[in-house]
Amino acid sequence: MRLTLGPLQYFWPRERVLAFYREVAGWPLDVIYLGENVCSKRRELATRDWIALAHELADGGREVVLSSLALLEAESELASLRRLVENGRCRVEANDMAAVQLLRERGLRFVGGPSLNVYNHEALRLLMEDGLERLVLGVEHGRDVVVEFRASGLALPELEAAVWGRLPLSHSARCFTARALDLAKDDCGFRCIDYPDGLPLASRDGQPFLTINGISVQTVGRCDLGPELQDLEATGISLARIYPQAEGTAEVVARFHDAIRTGVAPPRLGEENGYWYGEAGMARVDRDQASVPR
């Protein structure tokens, strides 16, 4: 099992982002994904800065993948996507069919990101014809889809699953952070920079429910498939993805790295794992690992 760092989903000041990735360079990770994949208005790092950072990290000998935007609306966003695709060195994680099209038109191999809709072996086969070499499972996908992919007889690409972090649940034309602050999106003042871990949303009885992150809505709890790592591997997942948070990401990476190195599953720290078991994503399933069929 290889360990990967998913793209930063929040908007942090430029210096904080650069300092974060200087640290990341020293962590025991096999793959680093980076780039703006939520909102194109977030420009503390411009596309060219992300590309420069990716190349710098790749110089250190690490596999680096540039993640593309999940939702594109404007022509300027396609122009940025084109720059990403033509970066000349790092592979791209395609998070929208526009990215798939630009990559296949240029004959470039790519990673299929979690916001592509790949629900069956036929869609996967078509994307592999287009150049897909690795698939990051969609957010609502779990064990069953991988078992069924394998049963289909298709020679599968590398499979990656998120094992830690707040998962992106939806994207909109509307900015929910701006809405919460009573600002128009066109005049948002880039205020999501004040919420380095997103803006928590609770139900009216005070239960934490969702996380607002600009135009995206995330889970409130952290997905944690630490105790399921062996099951993931036995099912055919070869890369485990950790999503960065404002604090404590180094410790999370170390914990998963140790678990992979020693083969001992870490205790559960995160709140959610339902999607892996085919249940509601917010559910937490406590299942005896020994009873999971291999």
Partner: protein
């Protein structure tokens, strides 16, 4: 410009045709479409009769096969494509690449429309579906402004259909996991959003009502407050100590005032949402849009929406409110 109206049942299909729909869209009675609700949709015999009714009046019938099959169930979607083709429908509306590819290879003459669930928002994405599967039309997700719709039409990649009226999904369609996060049932896989079996209403001592989805409190209503269906995106929540519709109010999309611009842009079809709605809704909304389109075609200059049309449409809107939604920048 085609007026494409919803039919969740044979009476709704007849109502849509009788009141001026150029095409109706329907689904089979299973999870192959995104309105897989109990009691809704068409058996094969229903659809055969519906197609005969429509074709006798030179109208069209489209079948939505716009959910995403998992690998083990892929054969059911292939069978549904075959069934639609054998029945002689005028087009199928699909989202999944595997389903589109199957249809393109086995029924090349059956027109394929890219569903809104296919989530294509740019000319690059539209080129993908055109080049790969020969789509004849694409339905755009409700995330683009009117200017962006106009620019996309100018590219002339494929003919464009847009949503004109009905319940408003505020998240980009085909990629929203809010229902599956809370209930495990998703529009993409199961053809349902926030299914009724997870909904629980509770009445408090003062007549206050609470509504929960799989035990999560979505909203609370005072006795005199209108209460809508509890989809996650239209609940009231606490953000930073303030309780409000943090994602969206219960409201419907209504683009009537944009009709001349949509026509001017070259939009080929206008879609009315609402296969889950009854015959009265279909009748009234179809009749209103038919009148609006006919008047625009007869008198293109100085077209104004008739106040009576707007009143009629508001009556059928969620919470009796309508919005231009993402077509208008101020909504964003």
């Amino acid at each position: 410009m085609y007026l494409v109206c919803p039919a969740g049942s044979p009476p709704a299909l007849v109502a849509a045709i009788d009141h001026g729909a150029d095409a109706v869209y329907v689904g089979f009675r299973d999870q192959t479409n995104a309105r897989a609700f109990p009691g809704l949709n068409f058996t094969e015999a229903d659809l055969r009769a519906g197609i005969a009714y429509a074709h006798a009046r030179r109208r069209l019938v489209y079948v939505a096969l716009n959910t995403y099959p998992g690998p083990a169930r892929f054969g059911d979607w292939q069978a549904a494509v075959d069934r639609a083709a054998a029945l002689g429908v005028d087009a199928i509306i699909c989202a999944d690449m595997g389903v589109l590819d199957y249809a393109a290879r086995h029924h090349p003459d059956l027109p394929r429309h890219l569903s809104v669930q296919g989530s294509a928002t740019t000319h690059a994405a539209l080129r993908y579906y055109r080049d790969r599967f020969g789509i004849a039309r694409a339905v755009l997700p409700r995330v683009l402004s009117i200017q962006q719709v106009e620019r996309l039409c100018e590219q002339e990649i494929v003919p464009i259909e847009v949503f004109a009226f009905g319940s408003l999904c505020i998240m980009v369609e085909g990629r929203c996991q809010l229902s599956s996060y809370v209930t495990g049932a998703s529009p993409n896989r199961h053809g349902v959003c926030s299914p009724a079996k997870f909904v629980r209403w509770e009445e408090g001592p003062g007549g206050q009502r609470s509504v929960r989805l799989n035990d999560r409190l979505i909203d609370r209503f005072e006795p005199d407050e209108p209460a809508g269906y509890p989809t996650v995106c239209k609940g009231r929540y606490d953000v930073g100590g303030e309780v409000f519709h943090a994602l969206e109010e219960p409201t419907s999309l209504n683009t009537l005032e944009l009709l001349p611009r949509l026509k001017g842009a070259g939009v080929i079809a206008l879609k009315i949402e609402g296969r889950q709605r009854g015959q009265a809704y279909v009748t009234s909304v179809t009749r209103t849009w038919r009148a609006a389109i006919d008047r625009l075609e007869a008198h293109p200059d100085g077209w104004q929406p008739d106040p009576q049309w707007l009143r009629e449409l508001s009556r059928h809107a969620e919470g009796h409110q309508t919005t231009l939604g993402p077509y208008h920048r101020s909504w964003h």
